[in-house]
């Protein structure tokens, strides 16, 4: 099949890539660029595991055609840390035990980042709404919501951590 060159700035690196007209952004990220952090769960835009930022806005990479992303900046989970130094949001996920099987985590992190970029101190309800497009089957969401709430307001300790007696180590 014929290919068309597109330009993407993925995690701050500009790349020109030959893509097919029916390639999705997810296929390009995973298969061409070997950034396998973004996951395909349902493949039909419902589960949110493939969520990436496109020019700062969260999109379903499995439903976005690569051609539509031509000229855009893409942030994937691999772009959140500085080398292996976790971002505060990622560190908060670890501290709160918000990673269980880890499959939804990349998409969840991206949606959380999009929220915090737009609204640095969301209340718990807003936070739940912002994450409602990302399905998690393991955690029941409590630790994820706690992790994002804490990342939003680290200076206040863990006032929003709902599970007071989790005893999780926060070091």
């Amino acid at each position: 099949m014929q290919t068309i060159d597109i330009t993407l700035t993925v995690n701050d690196q500009q790349q020109t890539l030959p893509v097919k007209s029916n390639d999705t952004l997810l296929e390009v990220i995973r298969d061409y660029l070997d950034l396998t952090g973004s996951k395909e769960g349902c493949g039909e835009g419902v589960c949110g595991s493939c969520t990436v930022l496109l020019d700062g806005h969260p999109v379903r990479a499995c439903l976005t055609l690569a051609l539509e992303a031509d000229g855009c900046a893409v942030t994937t989970v691999e772009g959140l840390a500085d080398e292996d130094t976790l971002s505060p949001l990622q560190q908060s996920f670890i501290d709160h035990g918000a990673v269980q099987c880890g499959f939804c985590t990349p998409g969840m992190l991206i949606s959380a980042k999009a929220l915090l970029d737009e609204n640095p101190s969301p209340d718990r309800q807003k936070l739940r709404q912002a994450l409602s497009g990302n399905i998690c089957r393991c955690t029941g969401y409590a630790k994820i919501v706690d992790a994002v709430a804490h990342a939003a307001r680290p200076e206040s300790g863990c006032p929003d951590c709902h599970t007071k007696d989790s005893g999780g180590d926060h070091d």
Binding site: G41, C42, C101, K143, S166
Partner: protein
């Protein structure tokens, strides 16, 4: 050790779909559009003509090159009905459910394989359906398996204690029915794997989302007719499992495709295929009569539980067996005189039955909890009062239950009391009355449960096998091997915590290895992780500690009982300054034991290698026949508000008090609780797999099979009690399934309480808004 979670959060996880091999081909299945049809012919010419297509495998090739899937559970010897069927991974003669694979296309890339799959031409002759339990059991029903007498696969009959005496003693009896709809656990990652058949060595190796690699190896080797010793199965990062990745079935076709093509072959199951051709659960109907005294003393039960299995369930899945615990579990945590329980499993033209969190243990408990709440209502007792009256008491453990379960430990009244205190029951009961006058409907649900955990059942592949190995390497780091795959339940961190604690080492030096079929064991299922594998690992670590202490004593010229292991160092109790690190110690043990070497007695005893492999088996099962070893305890109290105009249920408050014995890692336990509760809420309110009259599954997507999102999931208030189990090596109890049991039951109970003015019995899950409105309409109509 870099924490697993750090690797995953950086996007460095390696799940099945992230696997890439040189020269890898891709496999796609072709599914049947019919629910029940004879396969007249399959024409693969057009598919094979598509450039990039390597081969097409149909039922004929599967029959020619493989054996029927091995039987995973067989209770024929018990004198019960237990029918088996010869089933191949792909059928050659007829399809039995919508989506069942009739062919597999192997191509250079996935896209080509998909296009070719559309070009496979299959001629079907549609057959009449056994589309639901009622039809399948009716006389003259279409048969799912032609050589069976009828569609009944399983009929088990149990008498526990003395049921006749129980009913003779009763002041009253009450008939109770309960239905649970068909659901699936549906992890976000579907199944997938890569198979690599090495034609030079005649070996097969596979990597993928295998929850139980050792069982999968057995089943795949048996199907392919290859010695197990020539097959290795590797679990990679697994994106959730919940029991749904125990079996191996389509994986056999991937292995065959690699063998036939000589290429590594990858298969990733599309999500909608996972829904349509993956494991299903629940779909049961209970009809029972409970016997009791006027003072609330529970006496007995006579009940039958009907299961809609879908297609036969002893070789694709292993859940015909789940009828066993479904029948045993109604005893829950109470004293009884006797029970007569029958379990019937019927085959229908639906996808197969396999494990999902609960595995039958849930069904009996949910039923009996609903029944007990009915009894309480009849006797004008509170739900807590009837439970307090019938609980097994803290001083009665170990308690030999009438069904042979040996209940290990617990303080049931304390768990319930704590939950009641946290839930502020009196306040909400008052509030319910206040709101009733304002046309608002508040309901309070209360349920208590024990979870039978750590399974060992004869006559099946869940016999209790487990193996663990803990070793110290020459550089002083530690490897931990077991059959407990990491499926998001905290296997790795739990094992590392146990071993670090016993050896006096820092967690950073403990490396919990990926699970492969090299280690014997049935894997993490039926909440056995904290019972069998954790006990085996703890036992291996204790034996290794003994060796370390003995050898260090020899090196330091002190008695073994004066050796201290602490924070990664080894030292004489009286001379901490003489400490050596584990690295120094291991180096001496492996390579440089000089100047004069180890004590010759240690060498003569062959006891110098810092490597222990061992096993563990329940201390109660051999004598009692108890198929479970530990029984964690939980109490769930939920307050809901039902909007009677929309039928929508809102969860106002949720309290869960839990006693799973010694807690190894509190975050892990809380994660299991919160996740399980939300899954149970999904089952109670939304989740249901619905087939239409043609046997087509109507919901194969997250957009119409609704599971809770972060908005529907409530904040959950949790408290822990810790009554160690005397029977596990660490004192901890399996607890992964209790939360999904109590939560489903308590939400339904709370809705029933909210609708008490209408006199509605909420006994048909899920209680969707449509159903709630229907119940209210019907009740209002009757009342007019």
């Amino acid at each position: 050790m870099k924490k697993r979670e750090e690797r995953l959060i950086l996007g460095k996880g390696q799940y099945a779909d992230d696997l890439a091999f040189f020269n890898m081909a891709h496999l796609v299945f072709v599914g049947s559009p019919h629910a029940h049809a004879r396969i007249v012919s399959i024409d693969t010419k057009k598919a094979l003509a598509l450039p990039g297509v390597i081969t097409v495998i149909t039922g004929k090739e599967v029959a020619a090159h493989t054996r029927p899937l091995p039987v995973q559970a067989n209770f024929t010897s018990k004198g019960w009905t237990w029918r088996l069927a010869d089933v191949y991974a792909i059928p050659a003669d007829k399809v039995r459910w919508h989506g069942e694979p009739v062919a597999a296309v192997v191509a250079e890339d996935e896209e080509t394989a998909r296009r070719a799959a559309d070009l496979v031409e299959v001629a079907y002759e549609a057959l009449p359906l056994a589309g639901d339990l009622r039809t399948a059991l009716s006389p003259g029903a279409p048969k799912v398996y032609d050589d069976w007498e009828d569609n009944k696969q399983v009929h088990l009959v149990f008498d526990f204690g003395d049921p006749e005496k129980a009913f003779a003693m009763a002041d009253q009896v009450l008939q109770v029915t309960n239905r649970e709809g068909r659901v699936t656990g549906v992890p976000i990652e579907p199944r997938g794997c890569v198979g690599l058949y090495d034609t030079k060595n005649d070996t097969l190796e596979m990597w993928g989302s295998f929850q139980t690699p050792f069982l999968s190896r057995h089943n795949i080797a048996a199907t392919l007719g290859v010695p197990e010793a020539k097959v290795k199965i590797n679990a990679v990062d697994i994106g959730g499992a919940f029991g749904l990745k125990i079996h191996a079935w389509k994986e056999n076709v991937v292995a065959l495709a690699s063998k036939l093509s000589g290429r590594p072959v990858k298969w990733m199951e599309p999500h909608r295929d996972f829904m349509a051709t993956g494991p299903h659960q629940r779909d049961v109907f209970w009809d029972g009569t409970i016997a009791f005294k006027n003072d609330g003393t529970l006496l007995g039960l006579k009940a039958t539980v009907f299961h809609d299995l879908g297609v036969e369930s002893t070789n694709k899945g292993i859940a015909a067996l789940s009828i066993f615990p479904a029948c045993s579990s109604p005893t829950n945590m109470y004293k009884w005189v006797g029970m007569h329980v029958e379990g019937i499993g019927t085959v229908t033209n639906k996808s197969f039955y396999c494990a999902y969190r609960g595995y039958g243990k849930d069904k009996g408990i949910k039923f009996i909890e609903a029944a007990i709440n009915q009894v309480a209502k009849k006797l004008h007792m509170t739900p807590e009062a009837i439970r307090m009256k019938n609980f097994i008491q803290p001083d009665e453990f170990p308690y030999h239950q009438i069904n042979n379960y040996v209940l290990d430990s617990g303080d049931y009244p304390a768990v319930l009391n704590k939950a009641m205190e946290m839930a502020d029951l009196d306040f909400f009961r008052k509030r319910k009355k206040e709101l009733a006058g304002q046309g608002r409907y508040l309901g309070i649900g209360l349920v208590t449960a024990i979870e039978p955990a750590g399974v060992a059942v004869p006559n099946c592949q869940m016999g209790g096998i487990t193996e663990a190995r803990v070793l110290i390497t020459p550089d002083g780091s530690v490897e931990v091997h077991s059959d407990r795959t990491e499926i998001g339940q905290g296997a790795e961190i739990s094992h590392a915590t146990i071993v670090a604690d016993i050896l006096g080492m820092d967690m950073a030096h403990i490396h919990v290895k990926r699970v492969t079929s090299d280690f014997i064991g049935q894997g993490p299922l039926s909440s056995r992780g904290a019972v069998y594998p954790a006990s085996a690992v703890a036992k291996a670590a204790k034996l290794l500690r003994k060796k370390v202490v003995q050898c260090a004593g020899s090196l330091m010229k002190i008695p073994a009982d004066q050796v201290v292991l602490e924070k990664g160092y080894i030292y004489p109790v009286n001379a901490p300054e003489k400490k050596i690190s584990y690295a120094q110690f291991a180096d001496k043990m492996f390579f440089f034991p000089g100047p004069r070497g180890l004590d010759p007695e240690i060498l003569k005893a062959h006891d110098h290698l810092l490597d222990v492999t061992t096993t563990w088996y329940s201390p109660t099962t051999p004598e009692s026949g108890s198929s479970y070893t530990s029984f964690c305890v939980s109490a769930d109290i939920a307050v809901v508000e039902v909007d009677i105009d929309t039928g929508v249920t809102q969860i106002v408050k949720y309290v869960h008090v839990h006693d799973a014995g010694t807690i190894i890692n509190a975050q892990v336990v809380d994660g299991q609780i919160q996740g399980g509760i939300v899954q149970g809420i999904g089952e109670a309110l939304y989740e249901g797999l619905n087939y239409d009259e043609n046997g087509q599954l109507m919901n194969t997507s997250f957009s119409n099979y609704l599971i809770p999102t972060s908005v529907e999931a409530p904040d959950i208030e949790i408290a822990h009690l810790e009554t160690p189990s005397p029977f596990s090596e660490t004192g901890s109890k399996g607890m992964g399934e209790a939360p999904i049991i109590g939560s489903k039951a308590v939400i339904l109970d709370a809705i029933e309480d909210a609708l008490s003015d209408f006199g509605i019995r909420v006994n048909d899950a899920p209680a969707t808004p449509e159903k709630v409105r229907k119940w209210i309409r019907q009740a209002s109509g009757q009342n007019q």
